[in-house]
Amino acid sequence: MSDTVRPIDQPAAQGETLLQVRDLKMHFPIKEAHGLGRTKKTVQAVDGVSFDLKAGQSLGLVGESGCGKSTTGRMITRLLTPTSGEINFKGTNIAQLKEKDLRPFRRQLQIVFQDPYSSLNPRQTVSNIISTPLRVHNLVKKGQELTRVQELLERVGLNPEHHNRYPNEFSGGQRQRIGIARALAVEPEVIIADEPVSALDVSIQAQVMNLLEDLRRDLGIAFVFIAHDLGVVRHFCDEVAVMYLGKIVEQGPREQIYGAPQHPYTQALLSAAPDLGTIRGVPAKERIRLVGDVPSPIDPPSGCRFRTRCWKAEDICATQEPKLEGKPQSAPGHAAACHFAEPKVDLVAEIA
């Protein structure tokens, strides 16, 4: 936790830590019929996640469905209230703030959703969709709204003349741009992008990726980029955290995660990603195939959560939970939660 509490609308300096997440947990209670009575159980969607995000940085959260990456994103933007843990934004813990006190922070932490079809209100015009946050936060004078909306539309590569249209008149990629314009309207310092391109076709996906890249460069916005596509994350993020069943299993700079991954799960994930390199260059030397499925987060395995699918698992994995820590051989900032972590190279096909 940083020592000083600063006014939140003062922009952060480059490299300053904006967001500190500490031991964040989200347990959803569920009720299950059990004989005659009912037992209370919890889905441990996120179970102790910690990371830092610096101004202008982009952090990738990768993992398979159900690993808790989207839940983490929703907690940071406080669309969900965490069960426990801290979310420090510029020194203020916003994890349990009331809605009224939260409002100034909402302006700084914006989210872009995955599905451009369901995240825009079909009965509102684009201009209405984008100007609502402006009005809520009193950012523009009355009468100036349209100018600002058109400015934003132009910024995200849409025709400013189209402000009066409805979302159904736009294609998927264009709708995603509207979603991005809505997030940009309040000039946030952090954008949580929750699978922003996975619903789009490849050629359109690249257009939206380049737009996000430009925004990051020009406006210095920090991104938490949630995705399952390892190629997209490699392209966009400086820092990558790999999640499995509610926990971060490996975290580090991009070059380390892709070049010398240490955790068996990261290795399996990279090895499983189908890649063009197999045709164009040298195929990957080693292939790892996981067996089985991800266990249920209602009753996760003891000790290391990955041990049920891990080929390295030994007795210690069932009894003692490995800590997310740097190993003697690892590069600075690179940490893996595994008792038997060792770097593996050659998992990804090289392009000759």
Partner: protein, 387 residues
């Protein structure tokens, strides 16, 4: 392959009958058609005798807004034991064309012309009853979303054994035995217990395995897999792709794999067909198309995907949007988005639809583009940007 001999004989007879019919048709229609037939024969990049031949397939949907031309003159062929990948963006006609092969379009709302021959037998124009005999027997389909393509109220075992009993006159016990065999074959642990479970008790990957088991229960010679792994996680996707590969090695069936993921194509395909706005724009072996592409759209696709293996500085997306199928651009459908349009003399790109021609004058690798120096543009401009 374990197919009994009589069946083989039946097939070869059917094939020769088909050839005879085709030859007769040629004689009737005159020489111009005959050359087209020959070209279609040449179209298979492997040179083997194809099992599935799709020729000049056109699918149109009349709607209130006008006629949607979803597929325009598509031709391809797949021999047994090979995998053809059809690649394209949404709306390019890849799913529509393969649904036509399965005969899944509503006859009242669709206009289908052209020819689809399976082992020599024409499928277009077959009655619903005759189609039923082909569907699920010689051709099986694996759909994208196993959640919605399995019936939620019947057990997995029930659905698999029913698929078997529709095409074989056997008792329920025999069908059950067969279903258990299939569940085991696709790597579902504890088949006896799984047989009696419902789809919601299966995970996504397991459901897709069950779908594949159902598709393969009648030893189909052709499997059409429509985005079989798009709904799955990467690690599970790798399992399913391995499974399809192994099953193909074991049974020697032909696979048509429809996907938008070029990574999957690189790992699975023998042949690749790139579709754009309902037309084939490039067709050849996987190595031809992915390592030596000769069409600006294929270049654009390759340049716009971020890969795991290289962190390129900036992605180079294809500009603009795919055209509306209600109102295709004149000339080459890709011309409004094509960055190389200016290098073709005159206005040919906007006026003439380029033919699908061999890239090096002859051979099986074809592409649809007016550009003259495709090879040199790729080598000197596109390739350096890719690596």
């Amino acid at each position: 392959m374990t197919t009994p001999a009589p069946e083989d004989r039946k097939d070869s007879m059917a094939e020769s009958a088909g050839e005879q019919a085709a030859a007769a048709a040629d004689a009737k229609r005159g020489p111009s058609v005959a050359t087209r037939e020959k070209r279609a024969g040449l179209m298979n990049p492997s040179g083997e005798t194809p099992y599935l031949v799709v020729e000049d397939l056109t699918v149109k949907f009349p709607t209130a807004d006008g006629v949607v031309s979803a597929v325009n003159g598509l031709s391809y062929s797949v021999p047994l034991g090979r995998t053809l990948s059809i690649v394209g963006e949404s709306g390019s006609g890849k799913s529509v064309s393969s649904m036509a092969v399965m005969g899944l379009h509503d006859r009242k709302r669709t206009q289908i012309t052209g020819s689809i021959r399976l082992g020599g037998d024409e499928l277009i124009g077959l009655s619903e009853n005759d189609l039923m005999k082909v569907r699920g027997d010689a051709v099986a389909m694996v759909f994208q979303d196993p959640q919605s393509s399995l019936h939620p109220l019947y057990t997995i075992g029930n659905q698999i054994s029913e698929a078997y009993r529709v095409h074989h006159k056997v008792s329920k016990d025999v069908a059950k035995k067969r279903a258990l065999e299939m569940l085991d074959l696709v790597g579902i642990p504890n088949p006896i217990r799984r047989f009696g479970q419902y789809p919601h008790e299966f995970s996504g990957g397991m459901r897709q395995r069950a779908m594949i088991a159902m598709g393969l229960v009648n030893d189909p010679k052709l499997i059409i897999a429509d985005e079989p792994t798009t709904a799955l996680d990467v690690t599970v996707q790798a399992q399913i792709l391995d499974l399809l590969n192994n099953l193909q090695k074991e049974f020697g069936s032909a696979i048509v794999l429809i996907t938008h993921d070029l990574g999957v194509v690189a790992e699975m395909a023998d042949d690749v067909l790139v579709m754009y706005a309902g037309r084939c724009v490039e067709y050849g072996t996987a190595e031809d198309v992915l390592a030596n592409p000769r069409m600006p759209y294929t270049w654009g696709l390759l340049e716009s995907i971020p890969t795991v293996s290289a962190a390129s500085e900036k992605l180079r997306p294809i500009k603009g949007l795919p055209p509306s199928l209600l109102n295709l651009p004149s000339g080459c459908s890709f011309n409004p988005r094509c960055p190389y349009k200016d290098r073709v003399k005159g206005e040919r790109c906007t006026t003439d639809l380029p033919d699908l021609l061999p890239v090096d004058g002859a051979g099986a690798h074809t592409s649809r583009c007016h550009l003259h120096d495709k090879a040199s543009i790729y080598e000197t401009e596109v390739l350096p940007r890719l690596s």
